[in-house]
């Protein structure tokens, strides 16, 4: 039950990211000039006079330029246009009454659209970084566990060292020493690399422990006696034993990386502005924290982040009994 709910939450996030250009009503950088900080346009089906209609929205009319207050223009219903211009749904009058399901940000961009495109960056980055951490961690842990001796010592001392480092500070320092203006794809791979380095030791330690125990078991001894080479023994017999552990690690690392990206982008050391990621969307409001109170829909990336992290946690809880709760989960989510 918990597991299904968790899987569903994660699946929604992944689908939104994958199908963003089609599902989202607009382009992520499209600005609606008269719609700065406009509230969400909720689709209605019952008109003012109580009559039923196909889903429609009302147009926002700016009533106070200074405080950016809007009022619904109820005189006219703007119907929704389904499957038009390559989008699943838009409003019929995009120029005057765009469909803003989660309102607009301070540049007049559609928050709902940016949320979906942001999922591509935020989830894509977290997944890439987790993959990198798992690959590097498995390789190093496998080597250390298999070889033992001096190599094991050196590798484990190195992981010890990286693990006690203040992770957020390391990421900050590494990001800050590079030019502030980088292309988005450079930032993507740079952050993925930094996160992978910080995350790999956690994987390496676990894999090492598993490989060391498995090595002494009969099947591994038998394979070795039959003349299996070290690489074959490791890849074919020992590392597969760590599969379960690695799967759990991924569900722990991905939330941590999502939050890390958001933190870095929030302080302005992540992606540059026009790029939509969940962190940059929060960054837009970071100069004056009070805008969140006036325009609560700007917090929707935080809600999206919460739902995805909750989904992954639920998968983890459903996966293992509640008795094997991993305390590292929190540490990494917050670091």
């Amino acid at each position: 039950m918990t597991r299904m709910l968790g899987t569903a939450l994660v699946a929604i996030g992944v689908t939104a990211a994958a199908a963003a250009p089609v599902l989202a009503p607009h382009a992520p950088d499209e600005r609606f000039a008269g719609m700065l900080d406009a509230p969400p346009t909720l689709p209605h089906i019952v008109g003012d006079d109580g009559s039923w209609h196909a889903p429609f929205v009302y147009r926002w009319r700016l009533v106070n330029q200074l405080e950016q207050q809007y009022e619904e223009d109820r005189s006219q219903r703007v119907p929704l246009a389904w499957l038009s211009q390559g989008h699943v749904v838009q409003s019929a009058d995009e120029a005057n009454a765009p469909l803003l399901l989660l309102g607009a940000d301070s540049f007049g961009r559609d928050v709902f659209t940016r949320l979906m495109f942001g999922a591509r960056i935020s989830l894509g980055l977290a997944a890439t970084a987790a993959l990198g951490a798992v690959l590097a961690g498995t390789l190093l842990g496998g080597l250390a566990g298999y070889a033992g001796g001096a190599l094991d010592d050196v590798l484990m001392r190195a992981t010890d060292f990286v693990m006690v480092l203040p992770a957020m500070y390391v990421a900050l320092a590494l990001r800050a020493v590079l030019p502030l203006v980088l292309t988005p794809s450079e930032v993507f791979f740079l952050l993925a690399g930094i996160f992978a380095v910080v995350g790999a030791p956690f994987v390496a330690r676990g894999v090492r422990a598993i490989v060391r125990t498995e090595r002494r078991l009969e099947y591994a001894v038998a394979a070795e006696a039959l003349g299996a080479t070290g690489a074959r023994l490791l890849l074919r017999h020992l590392l597969p034993a760590a599969r379960g552990f690695v799967a759990v690690e991924v569900t722990l690392l991905v939330p941590a990386f999502i939050v890390a990206e958001a933190t870095l982008s929030y302080v302005g050391l992540g992606f540059p502005d026009p790029i939509a990621s969940w962190g940059t969307m929060l960054h837009d409001a970071s100069t004056n924290i009070r805008v969140f109170a006036d325009f609560p829909w700007l917090l929707s990336p935080a809600v999206a982040m919460f739902l995805v992290v909750l989904g992954l946690n639920l998968v983890l809880q459903g996966d293992r009994s509640a008795a094997t709760f991993a305390p590292e989960a929190l540490r990494r989510t917050s670091s």
């Binding site: 006690v164 203040p166 500070y169 800050a176 969140f292 917090l299 929190l330 989510t333 670091s335």
Partner: protein
């Protein structure tokens, strides 16, 4: 014990030196320096040269690093360029602020999380334990970045609590301490909420295991009241696993406080580090990174000692190495 402590201290020292040196060199290698950041592109060449010489930025990296290291051994960590104050004066001030925040969060999380964990862990079913359990799961999915945004949102909407800073501009009649406490509630709660959830889960897990132990059953069978068995006997045994992850908790406190400090404008170490990095204030960057490493090294050491305190087995094995603590 002495030898063990000495080894830990040596590692901590190495960590501090390595972290601050690495961040010094990295920050120095970064494109742009404090002078270009602060004077802007309109400054004349002479002005830039003069300023560079003033801060020692005209020397080579190796020479500058050697000079910094030589001074650092004498506990002189250089002068912050943007604040124009010695790093040695600036850091303790900000580190104390972070320590206040972290300590308040730790106390709050322990006070809330542990008792709740005992309640949920000692009874398998019931409405209250399952409610607490679900609440924990939700809170575990809310890292401090999200809790602080949520709390700031609530505070700004309702006006119940100040949303930023550590002190009011003018000290109110109620006194400075009360004012500080008022500002402390929000950031401390932002860190404490997920931490309390983690403690609740851990304590519940440890409790479930301990409640099934023969010594608990024996006490119950002898007619000792259930509440006494749970809150006295079982609690003591169940504290061990919690103390075991205290080092993780310290890490959480420390890194969690970064996001919270930035969002709530708490003048702590994280905020200082961010400013220093942005301004390319390399002496301050190295100082902040070193202070952060001291925090973590100290935290892990305290948590190891705490583990030895609640688990006699841990201290027995260690006392073989030297004199008893």
């Amino acid at each position: 014990m002495t030898r063990y402590l000495a080894r830990r201290l040596a590692f901590a020292l190495f960590l501090v030196v390595a972290v601050s040196s690495a961040s010094f060199v990295l920050a120095r290698l970064a494109p742009g320096d404090f002078v270009t950041e602060s004077l802007g592109s309109q400054a004349s060449r002479q002005a830039i040269e003069r300023e560079r010489a003033r801060f020692g930025l005209d020397k080579s990296i190796a020479a500058q690093y050697r000079a910094w290291l030589a001074a650092a051994v004498r506990l002189d960590f250089g002068r912050s360029m943007q604040y124009d104050r010695p790093v040695r004066d600036l850091i303790p001030e900000r580190a104390a602020n972070t320590a206040i925040l972290a300590l308040a969060a730790l106390l709050l999380a322990t006070a809330v999380g542990l008792p709740l964990g005992i309640v949920t862990g000692s009874r398998p079913g019931g409405v209250i334990p399952s409610t607490i359990r679900s609440a924990s799961l939700v809170l575990l999915s809310m890292p401090p970045l999200l809790t602080s945004l949520l709390l700031v949102f609530i505070a700004a909407r309702t006006g119940w609590l100040p949303i930023a800073g550590m002190r009011s501009a003018s000290v109110p009649a109620a006194g400075a301490a009360l004012d500080l406490l008022h500002h402390l509630v929000l950031p401390a709660a932002a860190i404490a909420l997920p931490l309390a959830a983690m403690m609740e889960r851990l304590q519940a897990q440890a409790m479930t295991e301990v409640v099934d132990e023969p010594f608990v059953r024996a006490a119950l069978a002898r007619g000792v009241p259930r509440s006494r068995v749970i809150w006295r006997g079982a609690l003591k045994a169940a504290l061990r696993p919690v103390a075991g992850v205290l080092s993780l908790v310290i890490g959480t406190l420390f890194s969690g406080s970064f996001a919270v400090e930035v969002i709530t404008a708490w003048p702590g170490l994280g905020n200082l580090m961010l400013q220093a990095l942005r301004a390319r204030d390399i002496y301050l960057v190295a100082g902040c990174a070193g202070a952060g490493a001291i925090f973590l090294a100290f935290g892990t050491m305290v948590s190891d000692l705490a583990l030895a305190a609640v688990d006699p087995r841990a201290s027995e094995t260690r006392s073989d190495e030297g004199s008893a603590p």
